[in-house]
C-alpha cells in the first residue's frame, strides 16, 4: 500500500519503528516545530503597515504548522517514552542501523557517485563529459562483483576452452570483466550522447 512495500526494502509496511528510534524522531520533530514557530514570529506582523491583522501576516500559517509539528513530535516522544524508549541500551546501534541496513557500502558509494555527478561535475564540465564517467562508474561499481558469479555459468566459450585444455581456465572471470567494461563504456557513451542530442537538437534546450 505504501511506497515501501513495492520496493520490498523493509520488512513491514509502514510498520512501527522501535521506541528508541522514535525518541530521536520525536525530539527532532519537536525541535523543528519550535524552530519554525520561532521563525514565524520573526516575520512581519501587525506592526508592519501592510499587515492589518495577525492572520494576514506571512508568519501565520507557518506558525500554525510549526506548532502542529511540535505537537506531533511531542506525541511521538511521549509514546516512545511510554513504550520504553528511554531504555537507551544499544539505542546508538539502532540509530546507526538506519544508515547501515543492509548494505552501507553500496549506499555510500551510490550517494558519493550521485553527489559527485550532480554536484561536482554538472555545471563544471559539459553535460556529456559529466554523464559519461558517471554512467560508466555506476555500472562498473555495481556489476563488478557479479562478474565472478557470471563467470561460473557454463557457456559455449568456457565449454570449448575446457575441451581444448582439459580444465577450466581462470581467464573466464577476466573475460567477463572485459565484456563488462566494454558494454558499460558503450552504454555510458550512448546515454551521454543520446540525452545530449535529444535535448539540445530536438528539444532545443540548453543542458547544464
Amino acid at each position: 500500500m505504501t511506497e515501501e512495500q513495492q520496493t520490498g526494502s523493509v520488512e513491514s509496511v509502514s510498520g512501527r519503528t522501535r521506541p528508541q528510534m522514535d525518541l530521536f524522531v520525536g525530539l527532532a520533530l519537536l525541535l523543528l516545530g519550535v524552530f519554525v514557530v520561532h521563525q514565524a514570529f520573526q516575520m512581519p506582523s501587525v506592526e508592519h503597515p501592510r499587515v492589518r491583522a495577525v492572520y494576514e501576516g506571512p508568519g501565520f500559517v507557518p506558525g500554525l504548522l510549526g506548532a502542529a509539528i511540535a505537537v506531533f513530535g511531542l506525541i511521538v516522544l511521549v509514546r516512545s517514552v511510554c513504550e520504553g524508549g528511554l531504555n537507551l541500551k544499544g539505542a546508538g546501534g539502532q540509530v546507526m542501523d538506519v544508515f547501515r541496513r543492509p548494505e552501507p557500502r553500496r549506499l555510500t558509494i551510490l550517494l558519493l557517485l550521485a553527489l559527485g555527478y550532480a554536484w561536482g561535475l554538472i555545471g563544471r564540465v559539459s553535460f556529456p563529459m559529466a554523464t559519461f564517467p558517471f554512467v560508466l562508474a555506476f555500472i562498473l561499481v555495481y556489476d563488478w562483483e557479479n562478474t565472478a558469479e557470471r563467470a561460473q555459468h557454463e557457456n559455449w566459450l568456457v565449454a570449448l576452452g575446457k575441451r581444448l585444455v582439459g580444465f577450466q581456465l581462470r581467464w573466464s572471470i577476466f573475460r567477463e570483466r572485459v565484456l563488462l567494461v566494454v558494454t558499460a563504456t558503450v552504454q555510458a557513451a550512448l546515454t551521454a550522447w543520446i540525452v545530449t542530442y535529444v535535448f539540445e537538437n530536438i528539444f532545443l534546450r540548453r543542458l547544464p
Partner: protein, 514 residues
C-alpha cells in the same frame, strides 16, 4: 448531456485522426506499462520524469503522453504483482494478494488476461464517470470558495496520511505536515514576503514542485532500490492469455461495483489508486460466495482489485480538472503539468476551455485501448522488461532525474533541490514515513495557506464561515472523524460500544488482508 456526447465523439475523432497522437499514446502507454512493471519505478516517478521531459511539447501532446503513462503504469504494475508478488506500483498491492497465488498455481496467462480485462473495464468505467461528472462537478465547483478550499487541502493531507500509513497514522500526518511546511518556503501570496529564504535569491521563489517530486520519487527511490538485493526472476506463461469473453462477463458484478468504488476513491482528495484497489477488494470479498479463496487465489479478488485501481485513475483526474486539487500523488504531477502547459484547470474550465475535458476523456479512452492491445498481444515480449538488469537501468534513470529537474526552469538550483529532497525522502522512508502525504502536502500547502488567510480576510477575522457553510461542515466533520479513527483509543471505544449494542463482531473485517 447530449452535447457532451457529441463533443466526446468529436474529441475522439480529432485525436485519432492525427497519426502522431496515436503514435504518442501508443509509446507512452507502452513505456508506462514498462515503468509500472519494474519494481522501483512507480507511476509517480514515470509521470514526473515524463512531465519534465515533455515540457517543450505542445500542451495537447504532452498531456496525451502523461495520460498514457499514468493509465499504462497503473496497469503495468499488475504484471510484477502477479509474477513476482512485488506490486510494480503501490496501487497494485491488492492485486498481488490473489494474483500471485493464482500464478503459482499455474494460471500465469489466465491471471494476466483477467487482470488486463479488469484494468480495461476499470479505466472505461472511470472514463464514463469522468465524462459525466466532470462537467456537472465543474458547475458545482463555483460553490467551493476560499473556506471550502482550505478544508479540502486539510482533508487531502489528513486522509492521505491516514490511509498510506495505516499502522501508524501519526507518521502519515507528520509526513503531510512536513510537506505543507516545505510549501511555505518562498514568497507568500498575500504579502509577497520571502519566507525561510534567508536572503538567498533562489529561495525567494520557493521550491518548484517538479524537482521536489523528482527527488522524492526518483532519487530517493533509487537509493532505496539500489541497496536491496536483486529481485527474483519471473515465471513465464504457458497457458492462454486472452480471456474468454464469457468468463470476464461472469464477473460483471465485481467489475461494475469495483469500477464505481475505484472512481469515487480517485475523486476524494488524498485517497487515490491504492485505496481504490483495497476498497474494491474488500467489496468483492463482502459480496463473494467463495470468501475463503480470498488471499489464496480468488479470481474475483484479482479482477476487483485491478478494476478498482485502474478506475481510480480517471477518477483522480476529475478533481484535477474541476477543482485544481489532486486526488493522488500521480494526479498531483498531472496537475502541475497542466499549469505548466497553460491549461487552467478549475471551476471555470467548462467556460475557458470547454472542449478540454472531453479531450482528456478521449485520451483516457485511447490509453485504455492501448493497454487492452498491449496487455493481451505483447504479454511475452513485455515479460523481458523484468529481466533488464537494474544496474544498467538505474544510472540512466538518475541522469534523467538530473536532466528532468533542470529542464523545467533551466536552473542548476533545481538539481540541488532534487538531490536534497531525494536524501530527505530516503531517510524518511527508512523511518517508515509514507511519501504520498508528503507530496500532497507540498502541492496543497499554498492552497491551504492562501485560502485560510484569505477566508479570514473576507470574513473580517471571523471563523464562522469556515464552520457553518454546508460543504465546509461536511468536510471538517470528515477530517475530524479521520483524525479520531487514527488515534488508538477512539476505535477501541467504538468497538466496545458496538459490542455492547450488537454483540461480538463477525470475523470478516474488510481490511484484514491476510
Amino acid at each position: 448531456m447530449l452535447e457532451g456526447i457529441v463533443q466526446l465523439f468529436e474529441g475522439v475523432i480529432t485525436l485519432s485522426s492525427d497519426g502522431w497522437n496515436l503514435f504518442h499514446i501508443a509509446w507512452a502507454t507502452l513505456l508506462g506499462i514498462c515503468v509500472g512493471m519494474l519494481p522501483g519505478l512507480t507511476a509517480t516517478l514515470g509521470l514526473t520524469l515524463m512531465a519534465t521531459l515533455t515540457f517543450h511539447m505542445p500542451a495537447g501532446q504532452a498531456i496525451l503522453i502523461l495520460i498514457g503513462m499514468y493509465v499504462g503504469a497503473i496497469f503495468g504494475g499488475s504484471r510484477s504483482a502477479i509474477l513476482l508478488n512485488i506490486p510494480g506500483t503501490p496501487a497494485n498491492a491488492a492485486v498481488a494478494l490473489d494474483g500471485f497465488p493464482l500464478a503459482r498455481a499455474g494460471n500465469v496467462g489466465r491471471a494476466m488476461g483477467i487482470a488486463t480485462a479488469g484494468a480495461v473495464f476499470g479505466t472505461l468505467i472511470g472514463m464514463l464517470c469522468l465524462a459525466f461528472f466532470a462537467p456537472v462537478l465543474a458547475d458545482q465547483a463555483l460553490k467551493f470558495q476560499s473556506y471550502e478550499f482550505f478544508w479540502l487541502a486539510v482533508l487531502g493531507v489528513v486522509v492521505s496520511g491516514r490511509l498510506t500509513a495505516s499502522e501508524d497514522p501519526l507518521k502519515g500526518w507528520i509526513a503531510g505536515f512536513i510537506g505543507l511546511l516545505v510549501a511555505m518556503v518562498g514568497q507568500d501570496v498575500l504579502q509577497a514576503y520571502p519566507r525561510f529564504a534567508y536572503g538567498y535569491g533562489q529561495m525567494r521563489g520557493g521550491f518548484d514542485l517538479l524537482p521536489v517530486l523528482v527527488g522524492v520519487f526518483g532519487f530517493s527511490e533509487l537509493l532505496t532500490v539500489m541497496k536491496t538485493p536483486v529481485y527474483p526472476s519471473a515465471q513465464t506463461t504457458k497457458d492462454r492469455v486472452i480471456p474468454k469473453i464469457r468468463e470476464v462477463l461472469g464477473y460483471w458484478k465485481n467489475i461494475a461495483g469495483s469500477g464505481i468504488i475505484g472512481t469515487f476513491m480517485g475523486i476524494i482528495p488524498g485517497v487515490g489508486e491504492d485505496m481504490g484497489a483495497w476498497v474494491s477488494y474488500a467489496y468483492a470479498r463482502a459480496i463473494s460466495k467463495k470468501r475463503a479463496l480470498f488471499g489464496k487465489g480468488s479470481w474475483e479478488g484479482l479482477i476487483s482489485s485491478q478494476t478498482g485501481c485502474s478506475a481510480a485513475v480517471p477518477g483522480a483526474v476529475i478533481p484535477v480538472l474541476t477543482l485544481a486539487i489532486p486526488g493522488s500523488a500521480p494526479a498531483a504531477v498531472l496537475l502541475a503539468a497542466l499549469f505548466v502547459h497553460g491549461v487552467r484547470p478549475g471551476p471555470l474550465i467548462m467556460d475557458t476551455n470547454p472542449g478540454f475535458v472531453y479531450e482528456v476523456v478521449a485520451m483516457v479512452l485511447l490509453a485504455s485501448l492501448a493497454i487492452l492491445l498491449f496487455g493481451l498481444l505483447l504479454t511475452k515480449p513485455l515479460l523481458k522488461v523484468l529481466e533488464v538488469p537494474r544496474n544498467r537501468l538505474m544510472p540512466i534513470i538518475f541522469v534523467l532525474c538530473v536532466v528532468g529537474a533542470y529542464a523545467v526552469n533551466s536552473r542548476v538550483f533545481d538539481i540541488w533541490v532534487m538531490l536534497g529532497f531525494g536524501v530527505l525522502g530516503y531517510f524518511m522512508r527508512e523511518l517508515r514515513f509514507p511519501m504520498a502525504p508528503l507530496i500532497l502536502g507540498v502541492v496543497l500547502g499554498p492552497i491551504l495557506d492562501e485560502n485560510l488567510r484569505r477566508g479570514l480576510v473576507l470574513a473580517d477575522g471571523g471563523i464562522g464561515p469556515f464552520l457553518t457553510r454546508p460543504i465546509c461542515m461536511a468536510l471538517w466533520i470528515v477530517i475530524f472523524v479521520t483524525f479520531l479513527l487514527g488515534t488508538t483509543w477512539f476505535p477501541a471505544l467504538l468497538g466496545r460500544v458496538r459490542n455492547a449494542v450488537l454483540g461480538p463482531p463477525r470475523d470478516d473485517a474488510p481490511y484484514s488482508s491476510e
